[in-house]
Amino acid sequence: MAIGKVNTGGGGAGGTLVVTGVAGDIITATKDGKTYSRTFNSAGKAVFRGLATGIWALTMTNGSQTVTRNVTITADYSLTMAYFTATIAVTWPAGSTCTCTNGSTVLTAPDTSGSYTFTVTNTGTWTVSCTDGDKTKSASVSITTEGQTESVGLNYELVFFKSGLGMVTPLTVNKWNNNAGILNITNEHIQWSYQGNSQVEISIYGTSTVDLSKYNNVHMTIGAYHGAINDFRDRPHLYVSNNIVTGQEGVGGAGMAAYTEADAAGTWTLDIAKFNANMYVGVWGGWNGTITRLWLD
């Protein structure tokens, strides 16, 4: 149920209540033994003027279905009546527009502040989207239950490392399997290589966890590495996890809630759309290698 202020102007004592409901149905407002009735017009609107300050009980009925909501009158308010309501609280990058869509129904946030709670009046899959120029981000929300509340956070991109910028978001970088190996971190790349004849693998992870509910993908761009021989640890793995994976314990993907394995140079992407918790993002393994970009979107 949504209540908002509507400045209808005009004169007279008491508050003005604009109720939105089902066209043709009856709406009654009751308080202290007084009852006023209206019929929703073709636009689904009904207006009560001159209501005394206090809590009014609003009841909508079509003869077979009935719903009652209370509203406190202290000024002019609008009220949306529906036999079904649920809410979706959305946060998104300030300055962007935000919409909530289901089929032909498009709800638009009233401002670009970056925070708004949508009231939806039917079940189904609602798509929440934010847009700023050519940037856009969407997420789906399944509404199934009366009174259901959901929260969605949208973000365009989180960059850990980008060639030319270096480390944008803190990463912890360590080599393992051969502490004599070379680790070289510049603004262009994170590079690891062996010394002598011993291979060295890498452990890279965000120093802090990331709220994965805001993102659908993790990407890494890697250069050519030593070779994809038949050993799990010799290939770089992009992963998300509750715990940091730092060494031999990661073999076989142990400790990784999800991973993608790179078997060649290029950009590799991991699907994280079903993660809605704070988790670590990391890269593990790979016999010598170079990473030039690591990011989420």
Binding site: G252, G253, A254, A257, E261, T269, K274
Partner: protein, 99 residues
């Protein structure tokens, strides 16, 4: 362990006659509900998510909300631990130790 993937790369613990067997360590110690909430895209294969994003294997990632799978796995481990402790108690009783 051997798991089975269908034509959408979703994992199964049993083959219905139409699936592809995959040998992987990724699900060692995991319960059936956890495994069957995952998708495994083998190396060289490509899968497209409904929003058009494409993913090249090998990729192991859930198609069910991960919190649900994690809860199932934790319950599975709790039950296993309870079984082990019960068995240990029986052994101790039989040996007459820690009674």
């Amino acid at each position: 362990m051997t798991i089975y993937i269908d034509n959408d790369f979703k994992c199964h613990v049993a083959d219905d006659g139409t699936m592809t067997a995959v040998d992987t360590d990724a699900f060692d110690g995991k319960c059936a509900e956890y495994i069957e909430g995952y998708r495994l895209v083998p190396a060289g294969e490509t899968w497209m998510r409904e929003d058009g994003e494409t993913f090249t294997g090998e990729m192991v990632s859930p198609w069910v909300d991960w919190a649900t799978l994690d809860a199932a796995q934790r319950e599975y481990e709790r039950q296993q631990l309870a079984q082990y402790e019960s068995a240990l108690s029986e052994i101790e009783a039989a040996l007459g130790v820690n009674v």
